[in-house]
């Protein structure tokens, strides 16, 4: 019976702490917001902690409450196209241009950028350190595996989930004439189909290379045991755009409030808020458009 009472105790403790957590989550609701909008965004903005820093400031300045749906870029844009959200914040420029051209967004602003990094095991088995371009580095990974395909010298993990980062990776491969579809199922090219955090954990466990945005990598690097191998070279910048959903397509969306958010993130107050998110003294995102595409 002692076992039972222990279990019951543990169950009670769990229930109680859940109630406490719920109670805390409820308390900010006490202040009635003027309006509420829904923002679809990528996991990177949520996981990096950016939204946690900037949205409370916006909510305080505007009285507009922002509900965040954090998914992949592909799904975020789909939610916008369907009018399921009022505004989207994503990072895949060609898709954003298509979204605007099809009339789903009312306006697009360059919000900020960070950069991608090719991360990998400290031993750098494909000798990528010091290579001058991102696609050159990917080509070197493919090249290293030509010598010893099985077991591979250098594994690469692809997000494989149509996210902005996945699309970026595919574009980098195609720059050097490699089609990942052809290398699928080869033991060194692993298509994970998961989010950035999961893929970084996988790369750490398998001691493989992958492409990551800097923000998520900084948040995970102490845990996953990977190094930044190639960074700040052409092809690795990662711009974010914000687009309110076009009320002409979806009249029920809260366009006015959404536009306020878009205008705020590019305002001096918004830019300062973006810069204020720092890890190890370095800002994770730089406001505005990137220096090179």
């Amino acid at each position: 019976m002692r076992v039972v009472s222990k279990i019951l105790n543990a169950t009670f403790a769990c229930c109680f702490s859940t109630l406490v957590v719920l109670g805390h989550a409820q308390s900010p609701e006490a202040k009635k917001p003027d309006a509420e909008i829904r923002l679809a965004t990528t996991t990177s903005t949520e996981a990096s902690g950016l939204l946690g820093v900037i949205l409370p400031l916006f909510e305080r300045d505007s009285g507009i409450r922002v509900r965040v749906i954090s998914v992949g870029t592909g799904q975020a844009l789909k939610l916008g196209e369907r009018g399921d959200v009022d505004i989207v914040l994503v990072h895949s420029r060609p898709d954003e241009d298509r979204f605007m051209a099809a009339g789903f967004g009312s306006v697009r602003f360059d919000v900020m950028y960070n950069d991608f990094i090719i991360v990998g095991p400290q031993s750098d088995p494909a000798k990528l350190r010091g290579l001058p371009s991102a696609s050159g580095a990917l080509k070197a990974i493919a090249g290293a595996n030509l010598l010893s395909p099985n077991p591979p010298i250098a594994k690469f993990i692809s997000r494989g989930d149509d996210s902005g980062t996945h699309k970026k990776e595919l574009a980098l491969w195609s720059d050097v004439g490699i089609v990942p579809k052809d290398i699928k199922f080869k033991p060194w090219y692993i298509e994970a189909g998961q989010g950035m955090g999961e893929v970084l954990a996988m790369a750490g466990n398998l001691q493989a290379y992958t492409l990551s945005d800097r923000g998520t990598f900084n948040a995970y690097k102490n845990r996953v045991g990977l190094d930044a191998i190639v960074s700040e070279v052409p092809g690795l910048f990662n711009p974010y755009g914000i687009m309110p959903v076009n009320p002409a397509k979806h009249p029920h969306t809260k366009h006015e409030a959404a536009l306020k958010l878009a205008n705020w993130v590019v305002s001096p107050a918004g830019r300062a808020a973006i810069l204020s998110l720092k890890v190890d003294g370095q800002s994770l995102f730089t406001p505005g458009a990137p220096p090179v595409k």
């Binding site: 039972v4 279990i7 989930d161 189909g193």
Partner: protein, 231 residues
């Protein structure tokens, strides 16, 4: 792509034996059935013993077993992940992100279902069956088999239930399998991926495939189960 065209497309791929789709189905089937195969003998023995052998703390053991029925699969995945991760105690086995890890996880998930169903079945069985067998000179194990044979339909129901739980389970499979294309991607993790991509119709179409699959498996198991009507 709307729901109808996506579903039609999914079934077209199914009957055109699209290697990618069938690869995903194969992973789902292989992992779930092997997991049941591993979990079933032990779980049935445990369920039977819990029902027939009185011992101190049996009630507690039954409560624990039944609580494990609602154990979140993602927690099973998390524990296995921590054990199998490169820095974890079993990291050197290199099992993380393999089908073997998924089988292990699903066996753990199926175990309480199978054990609890067997327990309930044997508890509900007519005590006379076992006593008659014993009085007719059957050995204890022989009597156990007789009892289990009497309640085979309820034990089978446990197998169906366990199969249903593991074939549709996504949390553990995603965590220890990693949803790797062509290796550890099964139907539920593929659905999860399609959802993340915003390809809702494809996800639902895959869901139909899963239901068809479950229908096929249950129908064929049911064939072995026989009529099973009221006596």
């Amino acid at each position: 792509m709307n729901l109808t065209t996506a579903t039609v497309e999914a079934f077209r791929l199914l009957f055109a034996f699209d290697p990618q789709l069938w690869g995903v189905i194969w992973v789902s089937l292989r992992v779930s059935l092997l997991a049941l195969l591993i979990a079933a003998p032990l779980a049935i023995v445990l369920g039977f013993l819990l029902a027939t052998v009185p011992f101190r703390g049996r009630r507690a053991a039954v409560i624990v077993l039944q609580s494990f029925l609602s154990f979140p699969t993602v927690v099973v995945g998390l524990v296995l992940y921590v054990l199998l991760a490169r820095s974890g105690p079993l990291g050197s086995l290199g099992l993380l992100y393999t089908q073997e890890a998924m089988i292990l996880g699903q066996a753990v998930i199926a175990f309480p279902v199978l054990a609890a169903f067997t327990l309930a079945a044997v508890q509900g069985a007519d005590r006379i069956v076992r006593e008659t067998a014993l009085s007719l000179g059957a050995s204890r194990s022989r009597a156990a088999f007789t009892t289990l044979f009497e309640v085979r339909f309820a034990v089978m129901a446990g197998l169906f239930n366990g199969f249903g739980r593991v074939i549709s389970e996504v949390g553990c499979a995603m965590m220890v399998g990693g949803n790797i294309a062509g290796l550890t991607r099964n139907i539920p993790t593929a659905i999860s991926l399609e959802t993340a991509k915003g390809e809702f119709a494809q996800g639902i179409a895959l869901g139909f495939v899963l239901i068809m699959l479950a229908l096929g498996i249950n129908a064929s198991l049911n064939y072995f189960q026989g009529e099973g009507g009221m006596k």
